[in-house]
């Protein structure tokens, strides 16, 4: 399928999702759905670097929060429409992604991962001590109750995140079948052999960190408007790092569909758990749940659900 055709199909799926959500007639669907879509963008963005090139990034919270705080900083000066704020968040996180890549991509494997973890700590410390955006107290806005045409503001946020998810998944898929995607796969499999085959590995890795960071920043940009309140604790939570790794791993990291499946399953279960309030008194159970599922997959199905399906197909139906 050509990329344009895929984009149209993805938009159609997005439209169906949106009208299904509207047909439920309960605003909470948009509030919960926003979180699922936000994770879909984060998981897809993580996978462009982590799944396609094999560089495991623990710094998702940094890129997400930079997007969120970019919005906070701009909003202190002027009121801009959300799409513009998302673009700004994407630029800031993309530039940080490029810089981080340039400084750290000479490190391989686990050393790169440790450096990204350090980035998250450094950015959090800086933000916590930056009083202009509220420091450790956090910052808040009074968000509009309604928007023209759609009605509720939650629907507007949901729609924006839905569009971003469509764009992110389309980008991920178009990379997969492209020259860039083959270069990424070569890097993932063997960087020395990739160089010997003419692949400019550093340049390609920088493209991946920039693109991945930018999408994460865009996902974070509306966060202040979603919660109406933003502080370092909520913007830099461990959940983003863990979920954005777990979702692609559970789904399968080598294809665009992997993060989609993983997000639908994991984020779906998380939302169900919080709605059904079974872990009401133990909010950390959410992260525990993810951890246990992740360990199970890493041990039993390292190529995720997509890998299981592929293996089953290769062997043929028993």
């Amino acid at each position: 399928m050509r990329n344009g055709l895929f984009l149209l199909a993805a938009l159609a799926v997005g439209a169906v999702v949106f009208f299904l959500a509207r047909s439920v007639g309960n605003e909470y669907v948009f509030v919960a759905g926003y979180v699922v879509l936000q994770y879909l963008v984060l998981a897809t963005a993580w996978n462009i670097l982590g799944g396609y090139t094999g560089y495991v990034n623990f710094g998702t919270p940094a890129f997400f929060a930079l997007g969120a705080y970019c919005t906070a900083a701009i909003t202190k000066l002027a009121t801009l429409p959300l799409p513009a704020l998302m673009a700004a968040g994407g630029v800031v996180s993309g530039v940080i992604g490029l810089g981080m890549g340039y400084l750290t991509l000479r490190l391989r494997g686990v050393f790169f991962s440790i450096a990204t973890l350090a980035l998250a700590v450094v950015v959090k410390t800086l933000i916590t001590n930056w009083s202009y955006v509220g420091g450790s107290k956090g910052t808040y806005i009074v968000r509009p109750m309604t928007v023209p045409l759609l009605g509720s503001y939650s629907q507007y946020l949901f729609l924006l995140m839905l569009l971003l998810a469509v764009v992110a998944v389309t980008i991920a898929r178009s990379i997969e079948r492209s020259r860039l995607g083959y270069g990424f796969a070569a890097i993932r499999d063997d960087e020395t052999a990739a160089e010997a085959s003419g692949v400019p590995t550093l340049k390609l890795k920088l493209i991946a960190t920039t693109l991945s960071g930018a999408l994460m920043g865009m996902a974070g940009a509306p966060y202040l408007y979603y919660g109406a309140y933003l502080n370092p604790e909520s913007a830099f939570t461990l959940d983003y790092a863990v979920n954005s790794i777990a979702m692609p791993l559970i789904g399968g990291t080598t294809t665009w569909i992997g993060p989609v499946i993983g997000t639908a399953l994991l984020s779906g279960v998380q939302q169900w758990a919080s709605v059904s309030r079974i872990f009401e008194n133990y909010p950390q159970v959410n992260v525990l749940l993810v951890g246990v599922v992740l360990v199970l997959f890493v041990v039993a199905a390292p190529n995720g659900i997509v890998g299981l399906v592929q293996a089953w197909r290769r062997k043929g139906p028993a």
Binding site: Y182, G183, A185, T192, A193, A194, E195, A196, S197, L202
Partner: protein, 245 residues
């Protein structure tokens, strides 16, 4: 004498206190078939890595096809026409056999000036190359389904896909049977007839002696002999290195 294709001048490489290469000088003419031999640990692979940009040499310089190579990353050297196969096969394991060949076609051949291959031509060319090394039937398979011999053939096919001027075959025949060695030798001869310069690094003396027009011997990071194969192996210093005093 015309300008050599490859000119290595005083190249030195250390790993900590260990001198892996000690001021190596070497020239290879266009179209030549050069054998490079030496005991294990004598620096053959290190020299290849310095030529190809996988390692950086600390001293000396490498010139290839009229251009200075020092400081150039490996992928640019490949694009300029220097291709290698690895001693231990390093296939792209998550790609199919045909896709392994596609990488250098996309990133080396199509990165050069001039006409670029279309997707259909890339497909055709990768199958042609696989056919040439006898892997035509395995194109859709994965590297893990290949035997050791087939892996080595894939290494060679991937290096050839880069359409090189110089092919460095680093122990492409280790562990192969008599007839398989002959297969690879015939293949290398065919490439050489098309004008590709070849450096063959090999322990199998029968293969090196029949293939090489010139033989270079490294021992403990130093070049101790360079000349006609028959003369080089009678060189007392070479005998001493291989057989002891």
């Amino acid at each position: 004498m015309s300008v050599p294709l490859l000119a290595v001048e005083d190249v030195g490489k250390r790993f900590g206190g260990f001198v892996a290469l000690d001021a190596i000088n070497l020239e290879v003419a266009r179209g030549e078939r050069v054998g490079l031999i030496g005991p294990n640990g004598s620096g053959k692979s290190t020299l290849v890595n310095c030529l190809c940009g996988t390692l950086r040499n600390e001293s000396g310089s490498v010139r290839f096809d009229g251009a200075q190579m020092d400081g150039l990353p490996a992928h640019e050297r490949t694009r300029l026409g220097m291709a290698r196969s690895f001693q231990l096969p390093r296939p792209f394991r998550s790609l199919t056999v045909a896709e392994n060949i596609r990488i250098p076609l996309l990133y080396t051949v199509n990165a050069r000036e001039g006409r670029h291959l279309t997707p259909a031509e890339i497909e055709e060319r990768s199958l042609e190359l696989l056919g040439l090394v006898g892997l035509g039937g395995k194109a859709g398979g994965e590297p893990r389904d290949l035997s050791q011999v087939e892996m080595r053939k894939l290494e060679l096919a991937r290096a050839m896909a880069a359409d090189p001027k110089l092919l460095i075959a680093d122990e492409a025949m280790a562990g192969l049977s008599h007839s398989e060695v002959d297969d690879i030798l015939a293949l290398l001869h065919r490439l050489n007839e098309r004008g590709i310069t070849i450096i063959l690094i090999e322990h199998i003396m029968r293969a090196v002696m029949s293939f090489s027009e010139r033989l270079v011997v490294l021992v403990a990071g130093r070049k101790i002999a360079d000349g006609l194969p028959d003369e080089v192996i009678r060189n007392p210093e070479v005998e001493r290195a291989y057989l002891g005093e």
